[in-house]
């Protein structure tokens, strides 16, 4: 499975019967997807022609494999082919033919032979409770495996929300202490591609960028490729004009829902979620949740499971029961304050009545004083 002399991606594609035409069209497609101008097509093509295949190891830890599922549904078949088939996916638990010792050997071989060159992809979070026993592969904990593999990796991609922020495993109370990748390893560039799952084209796009330019794409403050995560879903949402006009769906069965108004009031997380759904959409650009009438649940943001309920704009306030929002609490405390103030006013009139009476007397004195002054 491991190439000894490393053929270029194009050579490899040829040997698999991919035509020159298909390959070029895939290159053009990938260029467009990366948001690059048409003038960059030759650059991408050249890179795929001349660059040797990139050795890749792809780990699966605490996850549901939705990232892999998304990935293999990348809309351009040649892209999926080229990426999945033509990177040397030397180790990946869900897709590899090898098993048991063979698989472990393949992994070990890649890690030693291509030390400092291989790309490490991680799907899933890493449990750290009880010394990490909640996720063991080949008798070793995920934590152990990741740390060893990261030491020799050229770059690391954290696939999906699990690897980026812990996703559902890390939701309260997080019994296995599921931990995102960046809190386990350091010293290697980490590219975060969050989402549950990430969009297929975002995944392939990130890999193509690494393949073609041999460097990490431009990242934002949280380590996500800017090309895909620099804008909120809300910023590219086709329902946005309804938002600005104040036309909102109030419940899922009202007239406004049928008219396709904005889903803000029924909990849409688009305004706080950085992802490319509004632009790239899903399943080859067919649709995305909002287009199908459901608000964004913020699947590419940290803690989105705990920020519920999904169908309310304001979340339940931490420490209070579900459906108790900051507004409920504020209103109660506000009412108590008004009551307290009123009580204080009453008590003031009782306890300070002498003082107030005296104060009034004094002011009369002052008035007298003015009269005297005037008479002088």
């Amino acid at each position: 499975m491991i190439a000894t002399s490393r053929p270029t991606i194009w050579e490899h594609a040829q040997s698999r019967g991919v035509s020159r035409r298909d390959c070029l069209s895939a290159c053009a497609w990938m260029t467009a997807m990366l948001g690059l101008p048409a003038t960059a097509v030759p650059e991408i093509t050249k890179a795929l022609e001349t660059k040797p295949r990139l050795p890749v190891v792809w780990f699966h830890f605490q996850e549901c494999t939705c990232c892999s599922e998304s990935f293999i549904r990348s809309s351009h078949p040649a892209v999926a082919d080229i990426i999945l088939d033509k990177i040397s996916l030397d180790y990946t638990e869900t897709l590899q033919a090898a098993a048991g010792h063979q698989a472990e050997e393949a992994l070990h071989e890649t890690m030693t032979k291509y030390k400092g060159e291989y790309l490490m992809l991680v799907e899933g979070s890493i449990p750290t409770a009880a010394n990490g026993v909640y996720c063991c592969i080949g008798g070793r904990t995920a934590q152990d495996i990741v740390q060893e593999a990261a030491a020799g990796a050229k770059a690391v991609i954290a696939w999906g929300s699990c690897a980026c922020n812990g996703c559902v495993q890390a939701a309260k109370p997080n019994p296995t202490r599921a931990t995102p990748l960046h809190k386990i390893i350091s010293g290697v560039p980490i590219i975060k591609v969050p989402g549950c799952p990430p969009i297929a084209e975002v995944m392939t796009g990130t890999i193509v960028h690494l393949l073609a330019f041999d460097r990490v794409p431009q990242l934002d403050g949280l380590g996500r490729p800017k090309a895909f995560y620099s804008r909120r879903v809300h910023d590219t949402c086709y329902r946005r004009p309804n938002y600005d006009a104040g036309l909102f769906v109030n419940s899922f069965d009202d007239e406004n829902a049928k008219r396709g108004y904005c889903l803000y009031k029924v909990g849409c997380r688009g305004p706080v979620t950085y992802n490319a759904c509004g632009v790239m959409r899903w399943n080859g650009g067919v649709s995305f949740p909002i287009q199908s009438g459901h608000g964004c649940i913020g699947c590419s943001e940290a803690n989105f499971w705990d920020n519920g309920p999904f169908y309310h704009h304001l979340p339940s306030f931490p420490g209070f029961g579900i459906e108790t929002t900051a507004d409920n609490i504020g209103l109660a405390v506000g009412a108590a304050t008004v009551a307290g103030v009123a009580a204080h006013a009453v008590v003031t009139n009782i306890r300070k009545r002498h003082l107030i009476r005296e104060e009034m007397k004094t002011s009369e004195d002052v008035k007298d004083g003015r009269a005297e002054q005037g008479g002088e």
């Binding site: 004009p241 006009a245 706080v272 900051a326 507004d327 204080h344 002052v366």
Partner: protein
């Protein structure tokens, strides 16, 4: 029979008064528009989106008020160094023993009303100063979270200066939630604050309410060193109100 005579003290200079009312106005506007942003009105209508922009306007007003609020606040900090002693920053930092004692007194006399001796202060009393200090912290927090959120919707370099706050607080969602929750601090503060202003005016009769209009407050001359001196220098009948 004459037990007290009051003197007039110019406490709140014009900049403080302008600051105060602009600040109060901004806060009222920010609370109303902010609440609407969090909980938009339910309008059932079949108009096309291109015919209206009311939610856009609500947000726009929130952001305009936000800029005013921030720069007004920044001005007040400056005035804490440039203004008179009643406006000075020292009123807001409680570190002297005298201030601690005054806080205790205010709690006993005004809040719990266990004691009836009058407290003679002319600027902020120490308790008020401390409360305003907390309020200024809330201003700061609201500006940081607000402009942090705003960074995602604005191209201006100024908003981008606050972008770092979002990852620090764990993402836009969390920032928004805290920004929303802190609105209630302002509402609660306003209720108590306005009540206390009326309370002092009523109980002490020293012009507390009008002081934020004209700047003057009244104090028993016995308790003010300058007025006391002026008074004793002037032989003859005490004039009712001396200005300083």
């Amino acid at each position: 029979m004459q037990s007290t005579s009051l003197g007039r003290v110019y406490v709140w200079e014009i900049p403080v008064r302008l600051y105060h009312w602009l600040n109060a106005l901004c806060i009222v506007v920010l609370c109303i528009t902010g609440y609407l942003i969090g909980q938009p009105l339910a309008i059932q209508q079949a108009s096309e989106a291109s015919f209206s922009y009311w939610f856009g306007w609500v947000r726009f007003i929130h952001f305009v008020a936000a800029y005013l609020f921030l720069f007004n606040f920044a001005f007040r900090i400056y005035w804490g160094f440039a203004g008179n002693k009643y406006a000075g920053w020292k009123n807001f930092i409680i570190y002297r023993r005298k201030q601690l004692k005054e806080i205790k007194d205010v709690l006993a006399v005004d809040i719990l009303q266990a004691d009836n001796k009058p407290i003679e202060t002319i600027g902020h009393n120490a308790m008020a100063g401390f409360t305003y200090f907390l309020t200024f912290l809330a201003f700061l927090f609201q500006c940081l979270t607000g402009f942090g959120l705003y960074a995602a919707m604005s191209k201006s370099w100024f908003a981008q200066l606050f972008a770092w706050i979002v990852p620090l607080m764990g993402g836009d969602f969390a920032v928004r939630q805290w920004h929303h929750a802190f609105m209630w601090f302002f509402i609660l503060f306003a209720i108590v604050h306005v009540y206390l202003v009326f309370y002092h005016d009523y109980v002490e009769g020293r012009g507390e309410i009008s002081s934020m209009g004209g700047g003057w407050k009244f104090i028993d001359k016995e308790h003010h060193p300058v007025l006391k001196k002026q008074d004793s220098d002037k032989a003859g009948p005490a004039s009712a109100a001396n200005d300083i």
